[in-house]
């Protein structure tokens, strides 16, 4: 009896979609007179954000990214047998956005489709799920989508968050055929005590104010828009500084690697000051560290794949390279993995 060779999953392709409309710093200055946009933009490192058009929802962004993945990499839609959509801004409370994307992107009805409701850690979690489906033989070609119309969850009167967030979608293909393990040292973590510091206060079934007193738009002097994200920036910043270095260290230890063995570090593109603080705190060399959010903003689960795609296009990483991917944020939730491209 012949024992079949183990299947090793790999990240085989990556595409993205950014909505056409762009919100610039000048636009924000005009819309929020008297508010120091320049200071906030300098702190976040964000100077432009793509914004979904009226009538353009998360499923549209997601389907556009999937269609690009299929076109740019000459993939047969019928060959896709699983679709994972990571989003926290679903078109509808139910059903899963993945069902809308399957139909919009023209994928077959044989596809397994599901949503993952995670934010900034979502792509790294999604890679783990896709890898699991492939390596256990439950799927051969998994499309992993990240998509959020985050700007729809920001109160129009909240310039601090309007500066930061942008809309985006990415689509990746995870399939088998690797010559050995390509996902190394996977590390995950969750701390629900952080819910109160970063959440959509309203728009759900339960009142978020109960978990996060003082976070409602009314308490912050804003007119409710129906779906209002509240973020306690200093708390989230402190969580990040205290959690991400340890998560990366655990990931590298599990992978049997050191910082020197990694060719590129792609963290969640939260904001520039946070990224630089983490880089200094961990002691990572600037030339191996990606900061790329000036024209996209913080795009939640899309930020890591967007930054990786840009880095590959710029020649900063290529086939065979080891890239450390680290996601962290809302939840609190975090995840890290080293991927060999």
């Amino acid at each position: 009896m012949t024992v079949p060779a183990p299947v090793h999953a790999r990240l085989a392709a990556l595409s993205s979609y950014l909505p056409e409309a762009v919100l610039t710093d000048d636009d924000l200055v005009a819309q929020h007179p008297g508010w120091d946009v320049a200071r906030a933009a300098a702190s976040t490192g964000v100077h432009a954000r793509h914004v979904a058009a009226p009538g353009e929802w998360t499923s549209h962004l997601a389907a556009a990214a999937v269609r690009r993945l299929l076109a740019e990499h000459d993939l047969d839609p019928a060959s896709v047998d699983a679709l994972i959509v990571c989003t926290q801004s679903p078109d509808l409370v139910l059903p899963a956005t993945a069902c809308l994307v399957q139909e919009r992107a023209g994928l077959g009805s044989h596809v397994a489709a599901l949503d993952v409701s995670l934010g900034c850690s979502g792509w790294v979690y999604g890679l783990a799920l896709a890898r699991g489906l492939v390596e256990t033989g439950q799927a051969e070609r998994v499309v992993l989508v990240t998509a959020d119309a985050l700007t729809r969850l920001v109160n129009p009167g909240d310039p601090q968050l309007r500066v930061l967030f942008g809309d985006a979608a990415t689509a990746a293909l995870v399939t088998g055929g690797a010559d050995g393990p390509r996902f190394l040292g996977a590390t995950f973590g969750t701390d629900g005590r952080g819910v109160r510091h970063l959440l959509a206060v309203n728009g759900g079934l339960a009142p978020g104010e109960e978990r996060a007193p003082g976070s409602s738009p009314e308490a912050r002097g804003l007119t409710p828009s129906g779906r209002d994200v509240h973020m306690d920036g200093p708390e989230v910043f402190a969580f990040t500084l205290r959690t991400v270095p340890g998560a990366l260290a655990t990931c590298l230890r599990r992978a049997g690697l050191t910082v020197d063995d990694v060719d590129l570090f792609v963290f969640h593109q939260a904001n520039e000051v946070m990224l630089e603080s983490l880089r200094r705190r961990i002691g990572l060399p600037r030339e191996k560290f990606v900061v790329d959010l000036a024209t996209t903003g913080n795009t939640a689960s899309s930020s890591v794949p967007l930054a990786l795609q840009a880095a590959v296009r710029a020649g900063r990483a290529g086939p065979g390279d080891r890239v450390a991917l680290v996601g962290f944020g809302i939840g609190y939730s975090w995840a890290a993995v080293v991927v060999r491209l």
Partner: protein, 81 residues
């Protein structure tokens, strides 16, 4: 960290002249906001290895309050395994 050095740090993160910062100065008069809290957290945690609680900073009303929070800060520890 002596008081003079702390006041230098407060002026630096608040982006104001050092002469405007005295122990009794109200933070509101310095234009202090959550971004300033973030800057101070970075300066203390990354620059000096000191852990401060954001909620303690958020409760501060004067420079004196900030100095008390900083003096009570312990060394930074990583939370994740």
């Amino acid at each position: 960290m002596d008081t003079s050095s702390l006041l230098d740090t407060v002026a630096s993160v608040a982006l104001v002249d050092r002469g405007r910062v005295q122990p009794g100065t109200a933070l509101a008069d310095l234009g202090w906001d959550s971004l300033t809290d973030v800057s101070l957290i970075v300066e203390l945690e990354v620059g000096r290895g000191l852990l401060v609680q954001p909620a303690d900073l958020a409760a501060c009303r004067t420079v004196d309050d900030v100095l008390a929070v900083v003096r009570a800060a312990g060394p930074t520890v990583d939370a994740a395994p």
